[in-house]
Subunit: 646 residues, 3 copies
Amino acid sequence: MLGVCYYPEHWPRERWAEDARRMRALGLTYVRIGEFAWSAIEPDPGRFTWDWLDAAIETLGEAGLKVVLGTPTATPPKWLIDQHPDILAYDIQGRPRKFGSRRHYSFSSRVYLEEARRIVTLLAQRYGPNPFVAGWQTDNEYGCHDTTRSYGPEDLRAFRLWLQARYGSIEALNQAWGNVFWSMTYRAFGEIDLPNQTVTEANPAHWLDFYRFSSDQVAAFNRMQAEILRQYAPEKFIVHNFMGYTPDFDHFKLAQDLDIAGWDSYPLGFTDMDVLPCTAEEKLRYAHTGHPDMAAFHHDLYRGVKPRWWVMEQQPGPVNWAHHNPSPAPGMVRLWTWEALAHGAEVVSYFRWRQFPQAQEQFHAGLNRPDFEPDLGFFEAQQVAQELSRLSLPQSSPAPVALVFDYEADWVFRIQPQGQEFVYRDLVWHFYQALRSLGLDVDVVPPGADLHPYRLVVVPSLPILRKAALQAFKEAPGAVVFGPRTGSKTEALGIPAQLPPGALQALLPLKVTRVESWRPGLSETLTWQGQSWPVGVWKEWIESSLTPVATFADGRGAIYQHHHRHYLAFWPGREFLQSYLAEVAQSLGLPIQPLPEGLRMRRRGPWVFAFNYTDRPQTAPTPQGARFVLGGPTVAPYDLSIWVEE
Amino acid sequence: MLGVCYYPEHWPRERWAEDARRMRALGLTYVRIGEFAWSAIEPDPGRFTWDWLDAAIETLGEAGLKVVLGTPTATPPKWLIDQHPDILAYDIQGRPRKFGSRRHYSFSSRVYLEEARRIVTLLAQRYGPNPFVAGWQTDNEYGCHDTTRSYGPEDLRAFRLWLQARYGSIEALNQAWGNVFWSMTYRAFGEIDLPNQTVTEANPAHWLDFYRFSSDQVAAFNRMQAEILRQYAPEKFIVHNFMGYTPDFDHFKLAQDLDIAGWDSYPLGFTDMDVLPCTAEEKLRYAHTGHPDMAAFHHDLYRGVKPRWWVMEQQPGPVNWAHHNPSPAPGMVRLWTWEALAHGAEVVSYFRWRQFPQAQEQFHAGLNRPDFEPDLGFFEAQQVAQELSRLSLPQSSPAPVALVFDYEADWVFRIQPQGQEFVYRDLVWHFYQALRSLGLDVDVVPPGADLHPYRLVVVPSLPILRKAALQAFKEAPGAVVFGPRTGSKTEALGIPAQLPPGALQALLPLKVTRVESWRPGLSETLTWQGQSWPVGVWKEWIESSLTPVATFADGRGAIYQHHHRHYLAFWPGREFLQSYLAEVAQSLGLPIQPLPEGLRMRRRGPWVFAFNYTDRPQTAPTPQGARFVLGGPTVAPYDLSIWVEE
Amino acid sequence: MLGVCYYPEHWPRERWAEDARRMRALGLTYVRIGEFAWSAIEPDPGRFTWDWLDAAIETLGEAGLKVVLGTPTATPPKWLIDQHPDILAYDIQGRPRKFGSRRHYSFSSRVYLEEARRIVTLLAQRYGPNPFVAGWQTDNEYGCHDTTRSYGPEDLRAFRLWLQARYGSIEALNQAWGNVFWSMTYRAFGEIDLPNQTVTEANPAHWLDFYRFSSDQVAAFNRMQAEILRQYAPEKFIVHNFMGYTPDFDHFKLAQDLDIAGWDSYPLGFTDMDVLPCTAEEKLRYAHTGHPDMAAFHHDLYRGVKPRWWVMEQQPGPVNWAHHNPSPAPGMVRLWTWEALAHGAEVVSYFRWRQFPQAQEQFHAGLNRPDFEPDLGFFEAQQVAQELSRLSLPQSSPAPVALVFDYEADWVFRIQPQGQEFVYRDLVWHFYQALRSLGLDVDVVPPGADLHPYRLVVVPSLPILRKAALQAFKEAPGAVVFGPRTGSKTEALGIPAQLPPGALQALLPLKVTRVESWRPGLSETLTWQGQSWPVGVWKEWIESSLTPVATFADGRGAIYQHHHRHYLAFWPGREFLQSYLAEVAQSLGLPIQPLPEGLRMRRRGPWVFAFNYTDRPQTAPTPQGARFVLGGPTVAPYDLSIWVEE
Ligand SMILES: [Zn+2]
Ligand SMILES: [Zn+2]
Ligand SMILES: [Zn+2]
């Protein structure tokens, strides 16, 4: 199904009905509204102007659209900030982050928690029973603009309480953090500061707990809203629109209070801005299409966050916020929409109905231009709507491959990279791209997820290996490939007593006795099955009774395999992983389909999709005599084909 | 005429007479003094030591020199700052900018306005009638060291008043800024903050008004001084010494209160520091000469700011403040002086008489060395003085080409570049260099200037197109070439209802329906008259009934011409503009003279100048049998020739 | 002798005896403890837990180890900071640098001075008489983490007092700084601010005095500790562990209060982090060994700081704090140890006994792994210990070459580079590498040191030339090679009245009339003895009656020689210096031995050492029939040979 984001408060009331009619005519089902409308609803403290919102919902609903109503907590009004400056977040340098844009609040502000509770309650009470309101969106893009972590007095207060709850006694905390190290021993929780602005680096355990705390605060804020909505709108779904790779809070945890995970898909901006890192050459090649794995990774990630998932905001044309904002190649808006559906999206919702010719996002295209004419994206959305009306999408089925993704891992390596280039995001991205270029569908799952369904599991790295995750690995029937530094840290971010990979030694009899990080340009040759690969960034020294599967030039083992479990004792590049994972897949009898540059496949039930991200026609990797649902054996530039896997 | 900057307070009184004598002997007419002397004049609050200044003026005047007396407001003394810390400006991070160098005041400080008024009044009363004081300089280099914009409490207060005066009602402001967008609606002017330190970008309309306000504050500060000087020194001229490209305030507006625009010409420092951007190769090639269009652009700009103009500070040797400070090639001090005169300067004044061997600028050469010997620049100034004494400079005549320059355009694109490389300064620079390399003289004029005199008008971009400017374009009899984004914004920085180029559509029937910005390396081919050009940075999609003059590779129009008006729907490079403007000029019968690298021409009345910025002799592009006023048909390295256009 | 750094407070008390036994068995003599243990000693204000420290010292001492006891002033406990937040240092932006790591104090905090005095006194009283305590270390790594200079209220207060003491009257200060320049004249010392956060650059004389003040504060802090230790532990030595190139305070001055200069040698981290700058290629080539002159330079520097010197912390494996942390090549821990001994170290002490698996340095290897097994460095230390037990090291003898090193020079050029690339450290490094690659041993000495012992003296630059230094140059019997800008500044950082090189003109009849700084890529050709060298960065224009030894392409003199004194009027590169200094040495009959890349020599008495920093065997540059003490004529990769010079 398709939807759109709409801001009735931006447009004259007399245009709403016409807008609603045209949305339906276009084939849209859902319309999201209201998420930035606090000051339009409550222009003065306690004075409410519900009438326009009543009317807007009625107008949209009467036209046959289902409304997703946003809570407006991402944009508290100025009068509220002036009453309570302690709502503001503080940056890492200790300065308040001022009013004048959005997301100007700390998740730990006590007064803001109450104010958010107040406005959400009022909205939920009023619109909970409204039949046109199909569901609710909480807030907007949690964590965007680096807003998960805040460094103000309210944050310090809440952090101390969080630590007290976690550790019980200050002695336990001192012990866990190793505070004896530099006379950092505390006598009471009230002595603990935030870890920013220290002379040299703060204790990494201090940082990690601050990151965990910050993540928990986001989840608690969302839970507060969800509980109110459950109370007053018990039948309606709750969704949040997550952003592109924003690892500062644990989305898996937060989503426990949601029904649907939404996410905001801007493939061109994400490619320009390295949301997932692209090479200089890829940034040029895919400037008008986005990197072919960019949206897909996020689709798979957010499907892992919640089985029901939407694209809540789909880029419909050029945007305003990247360093460079090219136009999507003709066809890409349709392609991106179909790709989301192929990965299992329930709804794809375009952002936004009409370009608003003022304020911060005036250069952000919509389905309609500011002169009220349809923009190019409109026609591509229309084509998808028409195609969808002719077709009946099959149910999604699980992928054969799981990628274990861990938000905490991102924090651990950000805090303690030990080598500048050791970035968790990049490591995950290598594995993901390698798998996708082999034509494999991938489920992204959290540590501890049930791994029984999968023939192949990849774990780019999981430094803190908890019991549930270990148990899942133990039970996993498929091959499991562990990346470097898995099991290398205790929960308190120390080195395990038995050395890395810690508890994983139960599954893989090996010990990491030394690690090295290398500057770019420094590499060693790894030899595997007679082939040589240059390896850089990271190397581990292994003691093991196992015979290594691959060795470094100095004779040390680089890859170890024990039964169906593999350990990579180095930073694996994408090309290496393509070869290695192909070999592993083949040894399992898992069919792979190496794809040419810019072509990607994905299955949804019996349907097989091929997406062409290039400006040249490509041959769809179909079996003989495939039956096509859409397109044909040749996939035109920026186009797709769908056939049925018999 | 020639002049020099002199600091009697730096030297023993007994040396002044000898210095004055040597200035006259060198052939100097003007001597600027006093602009940093506040603490020498008023060492304690209310205690004045006029005697030394009386004596200095008398000594210089008696020697036959005309004094330009600076108001010392760029350097308030420490005791004043200690009495009134609210004088200090605040940086964009909200921190006071401390005493210890210069320009340590906010233009919005109420107390500083009063203190500046006090000291200027005292000076004007005392020296207004002095026959040796020929004129006055207000302050020093407004805006230098990023001092136009300040972010403190005094600034906030003044900004709110300015907004109130501009908008009358808060509703009008909310409407103009589109504050409904992210619940940014204000209920009163007192709720508005400065636009710095917001969580993500502030409303661009908020920024633009803050930039306009900041510019107005500079002009108001200068006007306050000018009014006092007009009152007590009604016969004397008023000048200010502007800096190299400092677009933060509108010089055209400020200069309404001046008689003469001065500017400070440091070609080597400006080339090293990208005051106008030079390629890496140009920075090396012109390290000892300055880029050949660097000084010229500023001469033409400041002649546009005020018909009477001076070079108030002319670089006489190596300076101290660039990242690298090479020596001028032998002859360059003379060449720069002559070039200023060729562009119409009334006076060229060297900075400074003698290198001061202490404090911040001790590595800044003067005409004399700190050991009291003449430095190399002395002899070059002497040669110019001797040449001038033999010659009688003709009157300047208007150029055939106008370049419309707009300070507000700089602000608009700085606030909303939409693509990182879209920098107004660079665009202007491309047009200027292209015209100058064709041997064309250029007048830089503000929007709304009378364009009747010009056969060719170039408008690199004019995003906010006001009525007067539109009217001038309508009436312009010559060809007009508009660059991209002209007419693309409303006065409130929104998108015009009829889409860009807004009101310009009355002259050019076309509509910009989409814009793209591209990262370096991304380009498309433009074809014009059978020739291909790679185009990057910026592309516009045009709807028009016109047949394009040039097209992009995708078939879209890139250049449109309607009668004598041209529109470039892309970011034009310097090389392309050279070809295109040559073609336009030729179609108008406007003679061009493509010049070799490093050679530049300029006319002053019937005199034609050729300047050789290279280390090789060059042939002057003279007609047959030209009569030479200076030099001859071969221009030596770092030398010039002058001949008479018959 | 060998030693180790140990932290009994990190480990269970029951392990101490075993640790001590193994240290002795390894062949260690010294063990440094206690320097971060304040909160372990005084967990609450005034409550002391001496027992563990008593026991630790006793256990180590009974095992036969000599204890070096650290004063714990680098890590004041949190309770002390909470009582006295004015202990904290302030960064250059004026923000307090918070608790949570180490070195979180200002040297100018009055209360901290008292608190440091209190804890040091208590320690000195208690352990001064302890027979197992052989000596004391003051604090830890003064200046590390940019902690020499602080910008808070306590610093301002102390700076004003320091200035008052230095200048006596405010008029003298105004005169010395040239404050008349921009109305910076002060009326009282209480008007002077710190030089940070000014609008544009502050007066360089203001900065230089602030740098001098900051250096003096470190020395005073150390002196306070030393005086207490002398009082209560009169028989014991006092050492401090300096860091790699940390020029912010004058080590020569501080060391007047020490008996031994210790320094902390981390060749790999220093190479990765440009502690002394390495080319991109060198960083790769020497990633596993460290640059072959990196440790050596520091050995020679700290031997100059104090004739008795130790390596207090020797890198034993990968560390945690560089951007990249590779493993030392096998053999390097032994090689580094021997190299320190070759340069004259009294003791080499490894950091640390055992890797601590928590807190900030958990990735910093020790001699033992966190699982209590010996790490690789253990075995290399063991080998050295065994070798040492067989051999009797001869006494060091002075080197034939002196390099005059000046901390103040670093400050002067940092404050006033005049060209971005003019970095004192780099210039010194060029000279040092050139000399070492010629096989020459070098003594690093302060200005004013007796130069009679040296056949060749190099002075990379000495901008402020005081009487003692000039006198030493006058008396120096050997050749003296002066680099650019020597003698170019007065003590108040002005230009000398007679122009540079100021007082040096007494020895070298020449005058610098102009200086130029050039951007990278800009160069001129220097011709010397028929050979051409490209010269960049810096050029001086010389007036002299001397005939230059080498000239620039423009005919100006580049090198001048007067008797046995040489002046280089440009920025000399390492390659040029290799040739030039070789020539100078040969003309003196000083034997040189040009060494292949990665091979280095050093003499200790009659022993000659060759160190191979490469992965290839190299031929030792031995005379015929040399007698080997260790190794042989071929030096294996990462190995050394020692032979006797007959
Ligand atoms: Zn969004
Ligand atoms: Zn100036
Ligand atoms: Zn250390």
